[in-house]
């Protein structure tokens, strides 16, 4: 059994060392909020944080993640979806099908941590996740809303 620290808890699992972190999260640990989209780090649906760094978990062998590195998935981003991004996402009705949105929110959360007031160019550079429904403009608006503290109560 190997161990990972996910959303603040140590989690044991049984998987081959080369298994991508994505599939350990989804299949061994039951955290299906992180999505499989392409398997080659192109689409960003699998984005999680490892020690705060946005990481495409579909190409990250689980054996390369240390037991003490802090993995955060969409389920652990904030209690009761209280992150300013999540509240802004709801306020602006960002998601359509929603499948890419976990990865979008995780990428955006890492962006805001690095750059609390991102410019459009910052957003373009950080947000390379694919959305086929086409929510990009609302994603951008929601990031800006969150940077301003989230929706007004």
């Amino acid at each position: 059994m190997a161990s990972l620290n996910v959303n603040g808890s140590a989690r044991q699992f049984d998987a081959e060392p080369e298994t991508p972190l994505l599939w350990v999260l989804r299949e061994q640990l039951g955290l299906t909020g992180t999505k499989y989209g392409c398997g080659i780090a192109q689409c960003g649906a699998c984005t999680v944080h490892i020690d705060g760094v946005p990481t495409r978990s579909c190409v990250r062998p689980v054996s390369s993640v240390g037991a003490n590195e802090q993995i955060v998935t969409i389920e652990g981003l904030a209690p009761k979806a209280s992150h300013a991004l999540q509240r802004s996402w709801v306020a602006l009705d960002v998601p359509q099908c929603g499948f890419c949105q976990s990865g979008m929110i995780m990428a955006a959360a890492a962006l805001l941590k690095a750059k609390p007031k991102p410019t459009d160019a910052d957003i373009d550079e950080a947000m390379t996740n694919i959305c086929r429904c086409g929510t990009y403009n609302r994603v951008r608006a929601a990031i800006k809303m969150a940077a301003d503290g989230g929706p007004k109560a």
């Binding site: 061994q28 996402w89 359509q96």
Partner: protein, 773 residues
């Protein structure tokens, strides 16, 4: 229902096309070969009966088990395996509305939510007529098995062709109105007053003369015992307070915290996972594979054939199944199509451009004669490639088969077609099958066909009693799509000396979706879908331009690559062809593209209105900023009128920047303006992805692109600002999920021409250099 009636004559609704429910073996001894035609007729009758007559409005009566249609929304509970078909309990009535004693309201939605907002929109329509408290509304999907068992009381489940609202608005609203009348009647009966003296708002019923009040929850049990009224009037849309408003979606919460369960996320007790590979060449077969070679890999349970064309590995986890499959020695018989290439397909289509035989879609006067006699001729040839839907969630389905029953959990756009596919693959009558709809991670038409679902059932059938979830790899998804059909188009116009178009011939050569999917639905050899936006009239796209001598025809050429419905589908390339060509005519005759369109749209006021709206908003009468080119496009399709104006610039290195899109939509009625705006914005992302990058090419009989690395999608940095003008003119119901896609590409292509003088006639744009010569 005007729109439904019209669409039946214009184009068989998708429900008719792709729900090939076999006749029930238990009751009708119909040979399988006539099942399809018979079932279409039968379902048409049932639909008519369900829609025209009494709508059963169900109320939750205590001690009667309510239908366990899968709950929608955040944290949707995983449905229980093997549960009996709900909604068939003899005491239960079940249709659009459930009112509970605790004042909560459940609205049933038959169409599938896949991001387009139909779940919220349809619930708004029901709630509007019900006059309930919107804050207490939740929704449920009935299953197709329940629908079948109850004579299709919910009508069609088909979710395609932008039909969700436009084809069910009337009967779902009647469901809400009927429920309201019964609830009010129950209160009036209790008070012994005429119902006409009562009013209702937000689920509170008031007897106006006495001021007494009660609530829906208090009278629901009494109301459920009443006979539903037959004379049901609907509100005038101008009186709407829930429908027509910018309400938030009902299904957002679970999409921001990872809790929404998509098909791929489903987990059932004892479930195994399967990965599959089908022959990369369509029409090829499995030659041999060595299951023993992977038998000792961790977690592997079984290797199973799927038909003669595919093989699947079943393991405890999907990753183990997938990697074992990749490691398994596997040989293919590529079959008769192994030499087909994009070049050979293009040559076949090119020959169709001048073929003497073609199927006429729209004709007036004598176009050939007029063009021959014209003072001037303009001609251009265009082409449009195969494209994959590339839903973010790859194809997947979960199935559990026993000799007595087969159940499937699937993200499907058409529950009834999914049920038919389940029954066929299961070898069981439909009454012994059911399909539970699980949330869709995108659809775009791909999930209206169920090849993947049939595979899941075929695999599960080889492991009786064990639920098996089949997930395609992205590579499998990209190379085994049901592709946007491939076409070429030659347009020829004859002009008089004043630049008036005296004759126009539009020859489309290429693939027919209907011929590929349901050849029995061809109309004397004609595929009506081919002529979306080009028809003489009707909801599926009336050609707006008044040309005295017109010929639009189709030389059908069907390569072996399987086609499918695709968001916007034929309207997309038809709009590129005609709207680019109109600009070419304007250019050739020295006319302003807007002025020429206005002249040609003289008999099409709704087409003209959306065109004028975008021209005005974009400031067409003022010069574009330096270096910026503007382009226009308009078309009608899926019952709606759309237009766009694009502003682009091209840098010296050839890189394209789309600065701004102004888009106008007239869908007749708008159920939720902010969702319409979301659909219009999204349409530009989808349409521009297609125009800029979307091409699936064929080599050695197979699709070459296998992931987003070779089939890119538009990204955030490339997404233009979209200004949406929603301008409902009333009197009709059009769709909004698709029509705007069609104007995205031609508006941009025309803007590129304005900016650079380069006319792009072959898509996608990535294959062309825009660099200044």
């Amino acid at each position: 229902m005007e729109s439904t009636a019209a669409s039946f004559t214009d184009l068989p609704p998708l429900a008719e096309l792709d729900t090939a429910l076999p006749a029930e073996p238990a009751t009708v001894a119909a040979p399988a070969s006539r099942g399809r035609a018979a079932s279409v007729a039968r379902r048409r009758f049932l639909q008519g009966a369900a829609l025209g007559g009494s709508l059963v409005v169900a109320f939750n009566v205590p001690f009667v088990r309510r239908a366990s249609a899968q709950a929608m929304g955040g944290g949707a509970a995983a449905p229980a395996a093997g549960s009996a078909a709900a909604g068939t309990h003899p005491d239960e009535m079940n249709c659009w509305v459930v009112v509970n004693p605790d004042e909560s309201v459940i609205i049933r939605v038959a169409r599938s939510e896949m991001g387009q907002g139909t779940l919220t929109g349809l619930a708004q329509l029901v709630a509007e007529e019900l006059d309930c408290d919107w804050a207490r509304v939740s929704t449920e999907y009935p299953t197709p098995g329940q629908n079948l068992a109850r004579n299709r009381i919910w009508g069609s489940f088909s979710t395609g062709g932008s039909r969700g609202v436009r084809e069910s608005h009337e009967y779902v609203r009647k469901g809400g109105a009927t429920a309201r009348m019964m609830l009010v009647q129950a209160a009036a009966d209790e008070w012994k007053v005429p119902a006409a003296e009562c009013s209702v708002a937000k689920g509170v019923i008031t007897h106006k003369p006495s001021g007494r009040t009660t609530t829906y929850g208090k009278v629901c049990e009494a109301a459920a015992k009443l006979t539903p009224p037959t004379d049901v009037a609907l509100k005038d849309p101008k009186d709407w307070t829930i429908a027509g408003k910018r309400l938030q979606r009902l299904d957002t919460a679970g999409k921001v915290d990872g809790s929404q369960v998509y098909g791929m996320d489903l987990k059932l007790p004892g479930m195994l996972n399967a990965a599959i590979k089908a022959c990369p060449v369509f029409g090829g077969k499995v030659k041999r594979y060595d299951a023993a070679a992977i038998g000792s890999r961790p977690g592997v349970k079984k290797v199973v054939p799927v038909g003669d064309y595919a093989v699947a590995v079943v393991a405890d986890t999907w990753w183990r199944a997938k990697t074992a499959l990749d490691a398994m020695p596997l040989e293919w018989d590529f079959g008769p199509n192994a030499a087909v290439s994009s070049a050979s397909i293009a040559a076949t289509l090119k020959a169709g451009l001048d073929a003497p035989e073609a199927i006429v879609g729209n004709q007036a006067g004598d176009a050939r004669q007029a063009i021959g006699a014209a003072a001037r001729k303009v001609e251009a040839v265009y082409s449009y490639p195969y494209q994959n839907h590339a839903t973010m969630e790859v194809m997947n389905a979960t199935a559990r088969w026993t000799p007595e029953r087969c159940e499937v959990w699937a993200p499907t756009q058409n529950g009834e077609a999914a049920l038919a596919a389940t029954a066929e693959a299961a070898g069981l009558p439909t009454a012994k099958c059911d399909v539970h709809k699980v949330n869709l991670g995108g659809g775009f038409g791909r999930r209206g066909q169920h090849d993947w679902l049939g595979q899941a059932v075929t695999i599960a059938k080889q492991m009786p009693g064990t639920p098996v979830k089949l997930i395609w790899s992205r590579e499998e998804d990209m190379t085994h799509g049901r592709y946007h059909p491939i076409t070429q188009c030659k347009l020829t116009a004859g002009l008089d000396t004043d630049g008036n178009v005296t004759g126009l011939h539009m020859r489309i050569s290429g693939q027919s979706i209907v011929a590929g999917l349901f050849p029995q639905n061809l109309q004397n050899g004609k595929d009506p879908v081919v002529f979306q936006g080009l028809n003489a009239g009707g909801a599926e796209g009336a050609f707006g331009y008044a040309v005295p001598n017109l010929l639009i025809d189709h030389a059908m050429r069907n390569p072996h690559v399987p086609p499918g419905f695709w968001r916007g589908v034929n309207l997309n390339h038809n709009a590129i062809y005609i709207e680019s060509f109109i600009d070419e005519v304007a250019q050739a005759s020295g006319q302003d593209p807007l002025a020429l369109r206005r002249k040609l749209l003289v008999k099409s006021p709704k087409h003209l209105a959306v065109l004028n709206a975008v021209a005005e908003r974009a400031g067409w009468d003022k010069p574009a900023p330096p270096g910026v080119g503007r382009g226009l496009a308009q078309i009608m399709g899926f019952g709606s009128y759309v237009a766009a104006c694009a502003e682009v610039s091209v840098a010296d290195d050839g890189s394209l920047k789309i600065h701004r899109i102004v888009a106008a939509t007239d869908p007749g009625h708008v159920v939720n303006p902010q969702q319409v705006e979301a659909q219009v914005e999204g349409s530009f992302a989808y349409g521009l992805s297609a125009a800029l990058f979307g091409a699936c090419t064929v080599k050695d009989g197979r699709i070459e692109q296998d992931n987003f690395s070779t089939y890119p999608a538009l990204l955030m940095a490339q997404m233009p600002k979209v200004e949406t003008v929603v301008m409902p003119s009333g009197g009709f119901w059009g769709g909004v999920g698709e029509p705007t896609i069609a104007v995205a590409a031609p508006a941009v292509l025309n803007a590129i021409f304005a900016a650079t003088g380069k006319r792009i006639r072959d898509l996608p744009l990535k294959d062309h250099s825009l660099k200044k010569a």
